[in-house]
């Protein structure tokens, strides 16, 4: 454990009745770092957040903040949430309805004198551009404004780490992007360490310095966003962040025979069944002239306009004789349905996993 780590979770385990919700999760958030814990709903990511905050009694493992152990059942340490110095932001914002915006933000500032407290409330509200609403009540605010106040309230006491549980899910899509951007800027400016839990892969890619991907109570993969996107650890990790094309085959003589050709399969055992995967935007299409030396000549089935580009569907027959529909993302003008095209995938965009 490094002393500058804002939050370290070691080998957390948590059962609900007999169901294992969290199974050996370890993660760390360094000072000033924004870390996203991402995964499909029900994977246990919110439980990890609650264990970190002390809202759930830790059953096994260890939670440390800024080098101090705050939860460790084996050592009989259990610091209650009110003494862990964490900030929390919720999906429903959880602003206290009976208090004004100013009083909401001042709620956690118990250690300051009244004058310092007022100053701090004003400062933080100015940062989220809500200083004009200091005397307003939460019900009078829009969703985006409430989110900003909730963020200000959590940041005001300068927590060791800010924990955000699906903080943008309550906002409508258009607003979400703006609020995300503002939140990230604020966290960076304050140098706040943050652990953000989300089910939205795009949000995780957008926000995170590092991502932990969770599935069924376990961490599947962790690393910077690009690493998770381009070097996924398994097929689940690959398909979580965006759609992938999958072609199945068997390893023979260190190679896999698939519609893209004979591909080298390093690290896979002879005779193993593997999945060859690549993302739709990695594929290049060009009109077939009939004299191509490489590439796969296919016929376009249909095309769909997405606004930001096009998706083109092309059917291929894999090595085992099954029909597979490949998706291709194009930015420019697409070919028409029925056109014969050449399909090429750069070798470094192809990832191979053992079939599960």
């Amino acid at each position: 454990m490094q002393p500058q780590d804002a939050l370290v979770l070691q080998n957390l385990e948590h059962d609900y009745d007999r169901l294992r919700a969290v199974d050996g999760v370890s993660l760390s958030v360094k000072a000033g770092e924004v870390v996203c814990l991402v995964g499909p709903s029900g994977c246990g990511k919110s439980t990890v957040l609650r264990l970190a905050a002390g809202l759930e009694t830790l059953q096994s493992g260890r939670v440390s903040m800024r080098g101090d152990v705050v939860g460790d059942p084996a050592a009989r340490v259990r610091v209650p949430p009110e003494r862990r110095h964490v900030g929390l932001v919720f999906q429903d914002f959880a602003l206290f309805p009976h208090l004004t915006v100013g009083s909401n933000v001042a709620f956690g500032l118990t250690q300051l004198s009244p004058a310092e407290r007022d100053q701090r409330v004003r400062d933080v509200l100015r940062q989220v551009e809500m200083d004009g609403y200091i005397d307003a009540y939460p019900h009078a605010l829009s969703g985006g404004q409430q989110q900003r106040v909730a963020l200000a309230r959590a940041l005001a006491p300068e927590p060791s780490v800010l924990l955000l549980d699906e903080p943008f899910s309550g906002l409508d899509e258009r607003l979400r992007e703006q609020v995300r951007d503002d939140t990230l800027r604020l966290l960076r400016r304050n140098g706040t360490a943050a652990l953000l839990v989300t089910h939205d892969p795009e949000e995780a890619l957008f926000m995170a310095d590092r991502i932990y991907l969770m599935r069924a109570g376990k961490i599947v993969q962790s690393g910077p966003p690009q690493e998770l996107y381009y070097k996924p650890a398994d097929l689940f990790a690959a398909s979580f962040f965006s759609r992938v094309n999958e072609l199945r085959g068997v390893v023979r003589d260190g190679h896999v025979e698939c519609p893209l050709g004979r591909l080298c399969a390093p690290g896979h055992a002879e005779g193993a069944r593997v999945v060859v995967s690549f993302r739709p935007e990695a594929v290049a299409l060009s009109h077939a002239r009939g004299d191509e030396a490489d590439g796969l000549i296919v016929e376009v089935q249909d095309t769909h306009f997405l606004g930001t580009g096009w998706v083109v569907h092309v059917p291929v027959r894999d090595a085992e004789g099954r029909d597979v529909k490949l998706s291709v993302r194009l930015n420019g003008r697409p070919p028409r349905a029925g056109d014969r095209v050449v399909l090429r995938v750069p070798p470094d965009a192809i990832v191979m996993f053992p079939e599960t």
């Binding site: 905050a53 809202l55 009694t57 259990r78 429903d92 959880a94 709620f107 956690g108 909730a150």
Partner: protein, 566 residues
């Protein structure tokens, strides 16, 4: 702030794979309070089974049969009565349209304002030989000696009538809520399939509302078993009056406790029925589509019948007895324009306010403990604590007085022996005993209100406050209580009024010479000083209107779609 790894108050220890930790202070408080609430019933059981009574065999041979049969007859009569009055009234005001419907919607609750014993006094005065009804009837037929054959209101059927008139609102309220919650679609389908108003009621609305109606009847019957004032004034021996007669009259607390156990058996059967039906009621409707209900237009004779059917319970259960009491009170103001009446009024208000605050505080502790730690222990504690409303006042009286009196004497003897002081009766000689009984009986009202209100506050409020450095108790004071203040006030008013009306436990447990409106009314009426009793009786009714107003307001707010109607 440093976060050193010092051991905390709540430590967690591993025992193999399972975990064990000390129960929190809140859990311990909840369990202790539940024990306190259950203590009177436990004490009754110990008394009943722990000792032998000299007269029990004698009682079984003589009067016990009467007690049981009369209680049973009253329950049967009240069941039939509240169904006949409450269900059609609820159906007509929710699913039909006729002149005056919106007035009856809330007016049908007015009879809740009076306890049964108060209207029993009013009707006795109204209907007895010298009363206005018989006098004018005799004048009409011109025979000063006629009408001897008229039935006496002071009889078993009369008592049933009194109880029905004030208890039907339970059935009305729950049936009403059930009819409103029924899916609009189901009712519309029944209409398009050609159901007449009557057959739609019989074939669709009634079967769907049946669990709620059963729960309402169970509540009414618990109140009927609790009644002491009416039956004792009418001279009918029931289990409730039997407890008092055997205990106070024959001086046999053991036999009285044994009768109390029989009464408790009746009550627990009702409690089981009520909880079972409430559980079923939640399955009875599937969709929650709030649209204005499709009301059946009633015209001509049908509308006239609806008006009469709704007006009669209001007139008989409220207007007529209120008018009688008002007439008495205004004709003899000297009985209540005096210092004694003011003292009684103040006593009632003080003890009701104490009970309301006490009850509400306990309810908050219990409900918050359940929110913080929803463990088996706290859930059982909450269940026990919220069953107190079923325990009849007479049972509570004996269950509270016997142990407290023993405690009092032991304490007084000990202090005397140790210090030579005479401290008197600390519990039974003060308001402690009576406040304890009120807490036991009326905790349910405030607990269910607080629990429902807490349930509406999202858990992330708690988490936010905790993460901002506030302990659970601080969070309760700074977040939950301010958010709930409206509910708390309403709950306090409901308890206040119920305490004001309570008779049997108050009669026994009040300190010497401490008169309340209820006991004063009872004492005066028992001495046949009905005109004098009118002042305090009317005061009870006036305060009793408060919950009627609150309920009618809640009813209006409950269903947005219903307001747009008409």
């Amino acid at each position: 702030m440093s976060l050193t790894s010092q051991p905390q108050a709540a430590t967690s220890v591993r025992f193999g794979a399972r975990h064990w930790s000390w129960p929190s202070r809140w859990t311990i408080a909840a369990c202790a309070l539940a024990l306190l609430i259950a203590a009177p019933v436990i004490s009754v059981l110990i008394n009943a089974f722990g000792a032998r009574s000299d007269i029990w065999e004698h009682l079984v041979e003589t009067v016990l049969g009467d007690y049981v049969v009369n209680s049973f007859l009253i329950m049967s009569g009240v069941t039939i009565g509240v169904l006949i009055v409450g269900v059609p009234a609820a159906w007509m005001t929710t699913l039909c349209r006729f002149p005056g419907r919106r007035l009856f919607d809330w007016a049908l609750l007015l009879p809740m304002a009076f306890p049964a014993y108060v209207i029993a006094y009013a009707y006795t005065g109204l209907l007895d030989y010298a009363g206005p009804v018989q006098t004018s009837l005799r004048e009409m037929i011109g025979d000063p000696d006629g009408l001897r054959w008229l039935p006496d209101i002071r009889s078993l059927p009369g008592a049933i009538l009194m109880l029905v008139l004030v208890l039907y609102p339970y059935v009305y309220l729950l049936a009403r809520a059930a009819f409103l919650e029924q899916s609009v679609c189901v009712l519309e389908v029944s209409r398009t399939l050609g159901c007449s108003p009557w057959s739609s009621f019989r074939r669709v609305a009634l079967p769907l509302a049946r669990p709620a109606i059963v729960a309402g009847v169970a509540l009414a019957l618990m109140e009927a078993l609790n009644d002491y004032g009416t039956v004792s004034y009418f001279g009918i021996n029931t289990l409730a009056t039997g407890i008092f007669r055997v205990w106070r009259g024959m001086g046999d607390p053991v036999a009285a406790s044994q009768i109390a156990v029989i009464l408790l058996l009746f009550v627990f059967a009702l409690l089981a029925i009520e909880r079972w039906s409430r559980g079923r009621a939640s399955y009875a409707h599937s969709t929650a589509r709030y649209r204005p209900l499709p009301r059946f237009e009633l015209r001509g004779w049908a509308a006239f019948g609806a008006i009469v059917g709704c007006a009669l319970p209001v007139v008989l259960g409220f207007a007529l007895p209120a008018a009688m009491l008002l007439h008495w009170a205004l004709s003899s103001p000297e009985y209540w324009e005096n210092a004694q009446f003011l003292r009684v009024l103040r006593n009632s208000f003080v003890i009701s306010a104490i009970a309301a605050v006490l009850t509400l505080s306990v309810a908050v502790v219990l409900a918050y403990a359940l929110r913080l730690h929803s463990t088996r222990a706290t859930r059982i504690a909450a269940r026990i604590a919220s069953a107190g409303y079923a325990v009849p006042g007479a049972v509570l009286a004996i269950g509270v007085l016997l142990p407290l009196a023993a405690l009092d004497h032991a304490l007084a003897d000990w202090i005397k022996a140790q210090f030579g002081w005479s401290i008197g009766l600390v519990f039974t000689g003060t308001l402690v005993a009576v406040a304890y009984a009120y807490l036991t009986r009326f905790l349910t009202i405030s607990f269910s209100a607080v629990e429902a209100s807490l349930g509406k506050i999202t858990l992330s409020m708690d988490l936010a406050a905790r993460s901002l450095g506030r302990s659970p108790s601080k969070t309760l004071g700074l977040v939950h209580l301010p958010i709930m203040r409206g509910t708390l006030l309403t709950a306090a008013i409901l308890v206040f009024v119920d305490v004001l009306k309570e008779l049997p436990a108050t009669l026994v447990l009040r300190p010497f010479n401490f008169d309340t409106l209820a006991t004063r009314t009872y004492d005066l009426a028992s001495d046949e000083r009905l005109v004098e009793a009118a002042g305090p009786a009317l005061a009870i009714g006036l305060v009793g209107i408060l919950p009627v107003y609150l309920l009618s307001r809640a009813i209006r707010a409950a269903r947005p779609g219903a307001q747009k109607d008409q």
